[in-house]
């Protein structure tokens, strides 16, 4: 049977996915968290710069420092993944290359998060 609907009519029938605001809101929520945690990061880097191994390890082992670091890692990697996603969607015009770039973006963000979380947990619980 011949299709009578125009492509526009098909899209209108499907309507909104009702999740368009998720990216926007998550970007803003993590931005607010990052603004606070960035100050913590500056303080941490200033505190450990030039410190010897034992002093640096003891500082990162402090539960409050470790928790703030974990919060920064999670919030930061979510935020940077969303930001890079926007950039990729702006500049990659081929569907295939865009998909590959988006996948690499996700993998990079997860790899950074996992490496940092593992290091902080090892320092906190390990020898």
């Amino acid at each position: 049977m011949k299709k009578m609907r125009t492509p526009l009519k098909n899209v209108r029938h499907l309507g909104s996915a009702h999740e368009g605001a998720d990216h926007f809101m998550l970007q803003r929520m993590t931005a607010v968290a990052n603004a606070v945690l960035a100050i913590f990061l500056v303080w941490l880097v200033a505190s450990v710069a030039g410190a010897d191994f034992a002093a640096a390890r003891n500082l990162v082992r402090n539960p409050f420092v470790a928790l703030a670091l974990l919060a920064l890692i999670v919030s930061g990697t979510i935020h940077m993944r969303l930001g890079m996603q926007t950039i990729i969607e702006d500049y990659f015009h081929g569907e295939g290359s865009k998909l590959v770039a988006l996948a690499l973006n996700t993998f990079f963000a997860i790899a950074v998060a996992m490496a940092c979380v593992f290091a902080v947990l090892k320092l906190s619980f390990g020898a």
């Binding site: 299709k3 492509p7 803003r28 931005a31 607010v32 990052n34 603004a35 960035a38 990061l41 500056v42 303080w43 880097v45 200033a46 505190s47 710069a49 030039g50 191994f53 034992a54 640096a56 390890r57 990162v60 670091l69 890692i73 930061g76 990697t77 940077m80 930001g83 890079m84 950039i87 950074v112 490496a115 940092c116 593992f118 290091a119 902080v120 090892k122 320092l123 390990g126």
Partner: protein, 139 residues
């Protein structure tokens, strides 16, 4: 459907509207571009945090090696650049959060906020590294 698609793919060369290159750079436009560039720099720069934390979790020998690299002159230049990117992206982000509420859109305020982002980021970076290098403890 297939016919419509192949018809659409035969693109006619149409004149394009002018883009960025013909406009005189305005401060809010430059700050918007720099916000994106600092975002990318911070994205890549997370490798520094991964490197430092994994070195600390590995042991004293490797940590001392990494520490020496960060403490060298090129290492310091990278860290100062990273600090500036972080401060700039943070202030730019706060500006965007204000704009998200619908405030601060008159031209005078837009200009003030944009200049505030670049000047503020330079002042904060200077203050952080002056404090650090002059040996004053901010603990």
């Amino acid at each position: 459907m297939a016919d419509a698609k192949s018809e659409r793919s035969l693109r006619i060369e149409r004149p394009l509207s002018p883009h960025l290159q013909i406009y005189r750079p305005l401060i809010n436009m430059v700050m918007s571009i720099v916000h994106r560039i600092t975002g990318v720099a911070l994205y890549v720069g997370t490798i520094l945090l991964v490197w430092w934390l994994t070195a600390l979790a590995t042991g004293p020998d490797y940590f001392n090696t990494v520490s020496a690299i960060f403490g060298s002159l090129p290492g310091r230049v990278v860290l100062i650049g990273y600090t500036w990117a972080l401060m700039h992206h943070m202030l730019g982000g706060l500006r965007h959060l204000l704009w998200d509420t619908g405030r601060g859109f008159d031209l005078a305020t837009v200009d003030r906020l944009s200049w505030g982002t670049i000047i503020g980021s330079l002042l904060l970076t200077g203050a952080i590294w002056f404090t650090k290098l002059s040996g004053v403890s901010i603990l």
